[in-house]
């Protein structure tokens, strides 16, 4: 008898007998009384002097919590975090939020009532209780009723308890001891399967990871990332050169643009600058010039590059007398057609910009070679 006794168990045949025994033992303070029955036996609680179950209160609180949570969440998502107008309704149209609020209320309440009862009040799951490994358990879950005198802080007087139970008419009496080092069956089972469970978790983790990575792009799960349409700048194998963007057919004229007719600078000399020489135009000219021309021709149009001193070709010095004397049209022509190493800027500059540049260049030329009357 090295093990410490946990309780003395008396088995009875009927609920009636159980209750009577309980009534008899209750005043004797042998230890904590507990009944084990196959179904709820009414009245036993009063005899064992148990308190009312606090479950109802807990459930009420949980329900209220659920209601508030739901409504606040719906309000925040649809009126605060990301409001969108649907059907001309107000972002916070609470009437429409009530059904979900109700459901969440019920959800919170039921889970508190159910799981709260199991875990908080009944302290289940618990596989280690001595009675689970007792002989009596089988018959308790079947059709017999047990009254247990359980040890309290002061320990348990086994013999007295036995006598008392026998006196109360217990058919069988069993002494339960605190479990030895090797726990009851379920724990062993769990510990053995723990490894397997861990392995399963790892496998599941990997599966999820790759699943999330691959599955979304497996056919037929389309996400409209890939559309058969041909966008600007896209390559396309249908065309021999692989370019999705086609060049316009030579000689065609589109609505947005009038072709530049002249071949030689001389022809272009006839052109006159259509733009007035206003601050507006000059500002536009300066912007265009500084963006496109200054890198080579220099901020002061003197052919001193701002960024490319090492550049092989020698940019023209627009301050030179020769260029100062050519017609505006000829400068314009060079911008359009290019000259020597200079490529055409037709694609990059609108007509307006080109003429504005001409103005701007003229202004800088004048500023650099000011005559006396200019100062006057």
């Amino acid at each position: 008898m090295s093990e410490r006794a946990f309780a003395v168990l008396g088995l009875f045949d009927s609920a009636q007998a159980l209750v009577d025994a309980a009534v008899r033992l209750a005043p004797r303070r042998l230890g904590r009384l507990e009944a084990y029955t196959p179904y709820p036996v009414h009245g036993i609680d009063d005899v064992l002097g148990a308190r009312r179950s606090p479950l109802a209160g807990m459930t009420l609180v949980a329900g209220a919590l659920g209601a508030v949570t739901a409504m606040v969440f719906e309000w925040w998502t649809s009126a605060v975090d990301y409001p969108v107008v649907t059907g001309g309704k107000a972002p916070f149209s609470w009437q429409a939020f009530v059904p979900i609020m109700f459901e969440v209320t019920v959800l919170f309440a039921t889970f508190t009532a159910g799981l709260g009862m199991l875990h908080l009040l009944a302290r289940l799951p618990f596989f280690g209780h001595p009675i689970l490994s007792s002989k009596a358990m089988a018959s308790i879950t079947r059709d017999r009723f047990a009254l247990a005198v359980e040890a309290e802080a002061g320990g348990l007087d086994v013999e007295a308890a036995k006598a008392a139970l026998a006196g109360a008419g217990a058919r069988e009496i069993e002494v339960l001891t605190v479990p030895a080092e090797r726990g009851p069956f379920p724990l062993r089972f769990l510990s053995r399967s723990a490894l397997g469970i861990a392995a399963a978790c790892v496998a599941a983790g990997y599966a999820t990871y790759w699943g999330v990575k691959l599955i979304p792009v497996l056919p037929p799960m389309v996400h409209m990332l890939e559309q058969p349409r041909l966008d600007a700048q896209e390559a396309n194998a249908f065309f021999p050169d692989g370019h999705g963007m086609r060049p316009p057919v030579p000689g065609t004229v589109d609505r947005e643009h009038v072709p530049y007719p002249f071949r030689t600078q001389e022809e272009a000399a006839a052109l006159v600058n259509p733009l007035p020489r206003t601050a507006e135009v000059l500002r536009l000219g300066r912007k265009a010039y500084e963006n496109h021309c200054a890198v080579c021709h220099g901020a002061l149009v003197n052919g001193v590059p701002t960024l490319t001193p090492a550049y092989g070709a020698k940019p023209a010095n627009l301050q030179s007398r020769a260029i100062r004397e050519v017609a505006d049209g000829q400068i314009y022509h060079v911008i359009v057609r290019g000259k020597n190493a200079m490529p055409s800027y037709a694609a990059d500059l609108t007509e307006e910009e080109r003429w504005a540049i001409v103005h701007y260049v003229r202004v800088l030329e004048r500023a650099q070679n000011a005559k006396d009357e200019d100062l006057r």
Binding site: H42, P99, G114, M221
Partner: protein, 463 residues
């Protein structure tokens, strides 16, 4: 506190809800005994049939997933058809379970205990069947999870004004609550199974699922309270769920959908269909598992009375709908109701009325309430009738809406039918498996109501 039954006058005494001598022990042996030993060939046959039906449905669902729901009959304007009909139908079936286990518990109807258990099981299986359809009916099932409000990089949330989202919450809540309710009821029985079980694996499983239940009276106290609370909550829930489902229609502007009567009318219909399904399964289980002594004619009688009452309620609802349509003087609504009975799908309307209102009137005759052929006829009739009621509401209303230019007939495809059959397959597969491994009757509840199960007086221990 409990009055002494013997002291009551005869008519007030609780009726014996079982036949013959019955002790807790014999009850266990009879009910829990089923889980041990090999099942009958009948059981295997049933499983084979329902499994293959399920396989057909599953493969067709896969096919739909790969080709698109164009393989169904849905079209413009009938954008919803079998998919949503089946969803509403199955959710409805589920309701009987909750009703029996929860509402009848609150009403203290003595005959509920014997049938509550698999009524609840049916609820869960039916809701599982129902849950399939909203998922597969969407055009891009692989993004269906967008319906759940989870934080995401798009920083966009679902639209809480949409009845479909209400559905998501209602149905998922309904499922989890029913599951919990069912499981709590099962726990003590699983404990008994744990003690009886011989096989190592079985014992292990029963042990784990009984979470170490030991029948301590300090547990029973909370347990009973919890069970009562759950019953109360489930009652509110069961009423809300089908109301929400009916909102899918009532909240829209489709003529024939936009009706204020829908919520109560849908709930009634759900209970109606559910009871019919319970009766069918009840009869089968009772015969195959020899439970005549537990599931008595008295039970069947009670069930059929409920069906009869519900059928009258349905009849009333139909009349009221018609009256509303006529009285509203709304041309569109008026047109639709003419379509219900005289339109291209008039036959469906008449079928609905016949199955749901006419045939069940048989049950006024007490003899029919206790005869298998009669009650099966009615029950099957109601199941068909309620399915077609949803057909009428959904398809017929849609196929003639506001602009006649878009009116179009609807024709289902074999795929539609296959998936419907598949859902039945799944349902009965689950029912059969359940009957095999778990007690179909809540033994601990029945034990508590056997004569002499409770102490007759508080035991006067004060001499």
């Amino acid at each position: 506190m409990k009055a002494d039954a013997a002291a009551l006058p005869e008519r007030l005494r609780p009726r014996a809800v079982f036949q013959g001598v019955m002790t807790p022990g014999s009850l266990d042996d009879q009910v829990l005994g089923h889980t041990a030993g090999t099942p009958s060939p009948l059981w295997y046959a049933g499983l084979a049939i329902s499994l293959s039906a399920f396989a057909v449905g599953a493969s067709l669902i896969l096919y739909t997933f790969y080709t698109g729901i164009g393989v169904w009959g849905n079209n413009r304007p009938v954008f919803w058809a079998f998919d949503i009909i089946n969803f509403v139908f199955w959710v409805g079936i589920g309701h009987a379970g909750t009703l029996i286990s929860a509402i009848l518990l609150l009403l203290r109807a003595p005959w509920r205990n014997a049938i509550a258990r698999f009524a609840e099981a049916m609820t869960i299986f039916a809701v599982m069947c129902a849950g399939i359809f909203p998922l597969i009916h969407v055009g891009r099932p692989w993004v269906a999870f967008w319906l759940f409000p989870y934080p995401n990089q798009r920083a966009i949330w679902p639209n809480f004004r949409s009845p479909l989202l209400w559905d998501v919450f209602a149905v998922s809540t309904y499922f989890s609550v029913s599951l919990l309710f069912w499981y709590l009821g099962l726990m003590p029985d699983i404990a008994s199974l744990r003690e009886r079980a011989t096989g190592k694996v079985r014992k292990a499983l029963y042990t784990v699922f009984s979470v170490g239940w030991r029948g301590a009276s300090s547990h029973w106290r909370h347990y009973e309270k919890a069970y009562l609370l759950l019953a109360g909550l489930a009652t509110g829930l069961v009423l809300s769920v089908h109301s929400v489902v009916s909102f899918d229609f009532a909240v829209s502007i489709v003529p024939g959908w936009h009706m204020t009567i829908f919520p109560p009318y849908f709930v009634a219909g759900a209970i109606f269909a559910g009871f019919a399904m319970v009766v069918i399964v009840l009869v089968v289980v009772r015969e195959t598992m020899r439970l005549e002594n537990l599931i008595t004619d008295y039970h069947l009688d009670a069930m059929n009375k409920v069906i009869l009452g519900m059928s009258c309620l349905m009849g009333y609802a139909y009349i009221m709908e018609g009256f509303t349509a006529w009285y509203s003087q709304n041309a569109y609504l008026h047109h639709i109701f003419v379509q219900y009975v005289w339109g291209s799908y008039g036959w469906a309307g008449w079928l609905t009325i016949a199955c749901n209102v006419a045939i069940p009137q048989l049950l006024w005759v007490p003899r029919f309430r206790r005869s298998y052929p009669a009650m099966l006829l009615v029950a099957l009739g109601v199941t068909v009738g309620m399915w077609f009621e949803r057909f009428v509401i959904i398809v017929v209303s849609l196929h003639h809406d506001y602009l006649p230019s878009s009116w179009h007939l609807y024709k289902p495809t074999p795929v539609d039918l296959g998936i419907l059959v598949g859902s039945f397959g799944l349902f009965f597969t689950l029912v059969l498996l359940f009957a095999r491994v778990l007690p179909v009757i809540a033994t601990s509840e029945v034990k508590a109501t056997l004569p002499g199960a409770q102490p007759s007086h508080r035991g006067g221990g004060h001499e």
